[in-house]
Structures are given as C-alpha cells and as structure tokens.
Symmetry: C2
C-alpha cells in the first residue's frame, strides 16, 4: 500500500529517563502519514555516540527511504547527533561556512544577547556549524542550530533539533518540500460504534480486511463507560477512495442488522 | 553507573500513524529510572508479526536485562504481540488454563455484559489466554488481558497491555516486585539557572562531568523568555549522594562568582 517507508529516531537521555515526554515523533508520524508515508519504526536512544551511530546504521540497512532524526544538535558536549551521523556515514565532520552563516544570522535576527564565557559561546556556535562531509545545512527559522540533510546509502537522512517549535518549523519549511515528490492523499473514515465490544466485531472486521487488501481497516477501543465505545478506522490512498466507502458501507449494513448505534467521522 | 539495563518496546500501528501519543514509555521510563535502571532504547513497531519478533530478538541479542513490551495483547486478529514473542523465543503458543481463569475472573469481577457474536467473544477470550510455552501469566487488576512473563536467553521479558491504566496497574502490582531485587535509590538535585545560556556553562559542566564520573550531570534548556532558563541536573545512586552534593556545591560557587541567579530543586 505504501511506497515511501520512513523511520524516526529521537536522541536524548531526558526521554529515556522519563524527564521529557516525546511529542516530536507523534507530530512527525501524523505529518508523514498524511503525505502517504508508512512509518516502520520509531526509536529513542540516549546521548551516546556509539548508540546514535548504531541506530542510524540499522535504519539505513533496512533500506528505509527517509530517516528523520530529532534532538542532539545543540551547542554542548552532550549533543552528539552530528558525530553519530558522521560515524554512520563513514565521513568526517567539517566546519561549514553556510551553516555558520545560518547560526550567526539566526542570533542576529532574534537579537539575542548572551552573558557568560565568550569562548564557550563561540565554541558552541562553531560546533553547531560543524557538520558531516557531503551533508547540507537547512535553515532553522525559529532557533539557532541548523538542520542537516545527508544521504547514506539509499536513505535520505534529515537531522532536526529536539526543541518542538524548531523541529516543526524546519520540517514544514524545508523537509516537506523535499518529500513532496512522493506526496499522496488518503481517504479516511472512522465509524464510532457504541455498545458492541471490539471482540464481537473481530470476525466481521477480519472478513473486511481480507476482502479489501488495499485498505487499512482497524478497530481502536476508545473507552468503556456505560457502554463500550470502539472506533473502526478505514483508510486508503486517494485512488482507493471508492473501496474505502464500499467497505464502510458493508460494515454499516452489518451494524444496522444488529441495531447498533454508531456515527461516522470523515 | 547502572547495573540493570532495560529496554521498552511499544507495539501499535496507531502510534506509528500518529493517532495515539505514546505515554506508556514515558511512564515506564520514570518508574524504571527511579529504581536505578538504565533505559537503553525505546522502540515503537507496528502490528506486524515479523517486525515484532525481530525487535524482540534484537533487544535480547543486546543482552538487555529487562524488556518491557506494551500493546498488542487484545482479543482481535491484529493483536500479535504474543505470537511475535513466541516466534522470538522459538516456542509454540499454547492455551493456558491459569491465564483463562484470569480472563474469566476479570470479566466476572467487572460485571461486564457483552452483546454481539457469542463465538467471536469466546474466541477472543481464548486468544488472550493462549501464551508462549514456558511463559507465565500475570493478573490484570483492571482489564481483561493478562500480562505475560517469559525469559529469552538472558533477558526477562514482560508483555503488558497497551491501555495505560492496565499497563500501570500490572507494572505496579506484579513487575515492580520482580524487579525489586535490583532496587536502588537515587539522589537528584536540579539547579535552575536564569540568564546564563547553556553554551556559556558548557565548559564548567564538562569539567564536573570529568571530575565526577559516577554522577549523571546534564543541562536541559528550559525556555528563553526575557532571560534564558537552564536546568542543570545532578543525579547519582544513594551511595554517591555526597558526591552529588559536592558537585552541586562546586557548581554553585561558579554561579556565585558570576552573580548568577538560580534556585535549587531537590
């Protein structure tokens, strides 16, 4: 059903320690799904060079089309994503003039004034502009660290900052365009069923799944107050839109026979 | 620093499609961190048998001590975690009387009444009680599907339901006790620094990291309104509590010299 396979890797000890709830991968999943990509895996790793490099190599060895990485692009010693990326790509890190221009412009634009150790600040900026050979910096419209685009084997790898506003801004301003050649639309209908538990619909749903191999059909339990509530999702690419409607209609017939109460959300 | 290494695997297409925000792994990370475990990775995979089985095998091949899986234990065709677990363990699935007793007791206890296809409902219950050979069911105090405990090579694997209340209840009632032999306490101090950006503290923090190898020291940017706000975390196991306090005290001296404003959160 999907031609474009993507994976997401989030880098950050703070996620593994439970300090930070990762919302980036949820946001990215939605965006990628909307343009018709299938997400195969989401992986969170800590700020360890070897671990970052290993997970990137694993994703590329699965011949993933796009890998989106978030986190670990900051100015400090524990931000190691670009080192890990260089190691996985078998390239060196090099200071990039274009990236440094992006860093300086961003600081000027936002009128930031720093106090503290001048040398540390300069080192931090230089670090953010030191990127793997053969990679390309992407501008960060709201923060300082540029994103980085690099191809490793067959995989296009984009490394985004972990700060959600920066990650989102760069994705929408740069990455979506890069992905847009593979853009497809989907048709999605939810049938919300009250009073019939998921297990009692399993037989019927299995039949529909078999009958419509191009359509994604799945039940999601959505609570159980007085009566059970189950959302049954029907999703297909635009070219299968009629099939989606046909499957929904068969399912509604089945529900009507059982005098079930339900509503459609398109 | 850590003796107990854990990983988390979340199973569910709904997470990969961005329909559901995974909060389970954040909750589990906190709990595991509190008892002194180091989380190496969190991986989300879809409801695909081969993918579930592969990720479990990968975790075990890393000699992880504990693997906590969430999701995919329900009654329907697309809940495939136990199949994947059996495949990774090289075992068959078998109907388990004790698990079936747990399923039936849970339905009786909650006074659930189902309408719908009787046969489907029975099949669903039987499925939830069909677990890998050599595994042990763990009671679910709030839902229907029992959890499952199995050892694969050197890894203790616990498979929990994806519904957060059920996952939490089983973890606290059964899994914590299993883990308790490795229980340790930690001392953690946060220094919240205002007006000094992360980059300007990087040099000092690097020195502290080198000086105190047993202490986890990390800066977390926490916003930038009028002045920057950075949380610097100092965490160590109970036996290193004095070292934690010593490192915090050195850091405060450094801040005081710069007339920085900060507060301590213990």
């Amino acid at each position: 059903m999907h031609s474009l396979v993507a994976e997401i890797v989030c880098v950050g000890d703070e996620i593994l320690m439970g300090r930070t709830l990762d919302t980036n991968s949820n946001w990215l999943s939605k965006r990628l799904y909307q343009i018709g990509a299938k997400i195969r895996r989401i992986t969170v790793v800590g700020d360890e060079l070897q671990e970052i490099s290993s997970v990137i190599s694993e994703v590329c060895s699965r011949k993933t089309n796009w890998l989106i990485i978030t986190g670990g692009l900051g100015p400090t010693y524990d931000d190691k994503t670009l080192q890990g990326l260089a190691l996985a790509a078998g390239r060196s890190l090099r200071f990039d003039e274009e990236a440094m221009k992006m860093v300086n412009e961003s600081i000027r634009r936002r009128g930031l004034v720093y106090k503290g150790d001048e040398q540390s600040i300069y080192e931090g900026r230089k670090k953010m502009a030191t990127i793997p050979e053969g990679s390309r910096p992407l501008p960060n419209p709201v923060g300082t660290a540029p994103a980085v685009l690099i191809k490793i084997q067959e995989t296009n790898v984009v490394s985004l900052p972990g700060v959600p506003e920066e990650m989102r801004a760069i994705f929408d301003s740069s990455v979506l365009t890069l992905l847009s050649s593979s853009e497809v639309n989907v048709r999605s209908v939810d049938v919300v069923v009250y009073g019939i538990p998921e297990a009692a619909m399993a037989g019927m749903i299995s039949e529909l799944v078999e009958k419509y191999p191009d359509i994604y059909i799945k039940s999601h339990p959505a609570g159980h107050e007085k009566v059970s509530k189950v959302v049954v999702q029907f999703t297909g690419r635009e070219k299968y839109a009629e099939k989606v409607d046909e499957a929904v209609s068969l399912f509604r017939d089945w529900l009507d026979k059982r005098k079930a109460s339900y509503e459609l959300v398109v």
